[in-house]
């Protein structure tokens, strides 16, 4: 029923928000339907009626959302609203949590990733993840990037492996800074460089989707700006879903923005529209700093 409501749900008419003299308010207030555009035609991933429980506690309620090809979709919301939980559903990272239960359907290129026959190892190569805190392996810069292609058998010989490493570091905007010290430890890099190394590691296995969970929250403004620039370049080749606490970052890097609130997906829409004229009052209250 929820899905039907969503598919029939039209954009709330911009209309007039009449806040004076008791005139009825057109903007949706305090309801839990998703307003806006949760679905797209060229979806890389489709999520339908996704529910997530941690034991008895429901973290995500009946969520349906598409992630479009070659788009950057940002997920915003207050702490504990379920955005990181949802992000981890997209590559089954929640499988590592004992009491976490995921129901519903999540399709990657038409295949349900939660199907019993689905293999999570290649899934996590196709849907890579970059975490909040940079986590390079305790290996050299070269081996950090080469690790994934090696275990997935993506390189037939050393030359091909070197080419993958160089290409990945170049795409991550790190090649010029590390090309003369590839055999030095990855942990010796600065925070921003480490994060770009992690991005290079992710793209070395040619993913289709890159998930980023607050990738810049541990970085300084200059490193953040470089990562944001990089996200914009990566969009040409990858689909990116990013969780962020910075609304300015969401406004800068993404084409669509999804607002989560207490486990519900409240609103999804073009980023420009969400940040200038959100359709749902909850969204407006959050992004204007009227509710935390």
């Amino acid at each position: 029923m929820q899905q039907m409501a969503l598919e029939n749900d039209q954009l709330v008419a911009p209309g007039l928000v009449r806040e004076q003299r008791g005139v009825s308010v057109a903007k949706k207030e305090r309801t839990r339907e998703t307003v806006g555009q949760p679905f797209v035609d060229n979806a890389r991933m489709r999520c339908r009626n996704v529910n997530v429980h941690y034991g008895d506690k429901q973290a995500i309620r009946n969520l349906s959302l598409d992630i479009g090809e070659h788009e950057v979709i940002s997920m915003i919301g207050p702490s504990g609203c379920g955005k990181s939980t949802f992000l981890r559903c997209l590559n089954r990272m929640n499988d590592t949590i004992d009491n976490c239960r995921v129901s519903g359907e999540i399709h990657l290129d038409g295949q349900d990733i939660y199907d019993k026959k689905a293999d999570v190892v290649p899934l996590r190569a196709r849907v890579g993840m970059v975490f909040q805190k940079p986590n390079p392996f305790p290996k050299s810069i070269f081996d950090n990037v080469a690790y994934g292609p090696r275990i997935h058998g993506l390189a037939r010989h050393k030359g091909e492996l070197e080419h993958i490493v160089m290409t990945s570091l170049t795409k991550a905007g790190l090649w010029d800074e590390v090309k003369d010290r590839l055999h030095q430890p990855g942990t010796g890099l600065s925070g921003g460089q480490q994060q770009r190394l992690c991005i290079a590691r992710t793209i070395a296995v040619s993913p289709e989707v890159i998930l980023m969970d607050e990738p810049c929250s541990a970085l300084d403004p200059i490193a953040t700006a470089k990562i944001e620039d990089l996200i914009d370049e990566l969009r040409e080749n990858f689909t990116i879903a990013i969780v962020t606490h910075s609304m300015q970052q969401a406004a800068r890097v993404s084409q669509r923005t999804a607002y989560f609130h207490l486990g519900d997906l409240i609103e999804v829409g073009p980023t420009e529209q969400v940040f200038t004229n959100p359709r749902h009052k909850l969204t407006e209250d959050y992004i204007t700093g009227r509710v935390g």
Partner: protein, 247 residues
Amino acid sequence: MNQRLEGHIARRYDDELNHVHTSVIELGGLVLDQLTKTLEALSEREVSAALRVLERDESVKQLEKRLDDEIVRVIARRAPVAKDLRSVIGMAKAVADLGHVERECVNVAQMALAFFDHGMYPPPNNMMRDIYSMGRTAASHLRTGLEVFDICDLERAIETVALRQELSQEFQCCLRRLSTFLMEDARNVGQVVNVVLSTRSLERVGEYALNLCEYVIYQVTGEEPENHFTQNAARGSEPARGSEAGG
């Protein structure tokens, strides 16, 4: 206090927005007073009223500049979004338009001085009545625009914006009436031109005043009404909407 601007977790943000809003209304009050003095100068042939308008021009400009700076600071500090962003943009545009109104008042005040103080032969009353009539309309619109902007009254804003066509038509009527003076006696051309210019300035004041209502519509709904009046339209570089005279 404008409730639309309040409710932030950071109370200082409320204060900053309210301060800007209050200052915009203060600027509007000053400009309205300038307009009133200008009209008094014309109707009462009060040279001192016209001089007062010119004397206060500088202080109005300074307030306008202070407001511009304050708005920039709010944007830099707070990076407003959604309705806060629309409110700040609306306030910035209102400041700009009130500045234009002020400059039109100064133009008309200078014309009044030219009529009554500089030895020119002032236009007869029957020629001046169009200025008085347009002035009253402009003052009424400016008063309404400021009231609507102050309390963000959407319904009244929509009703008032609908008067734009009437304002344009009133100006067209003035032009037709004034043209008859030219047809009667070509030597009237100097006075007619001065009256036309003054009437045109007051018509623009009315247009800018109606813009204040449009900014309220934008602030509340996020939709910008069509046929928005701009300085370019006033100069004739864009098709002057509703005005065949142009420029």
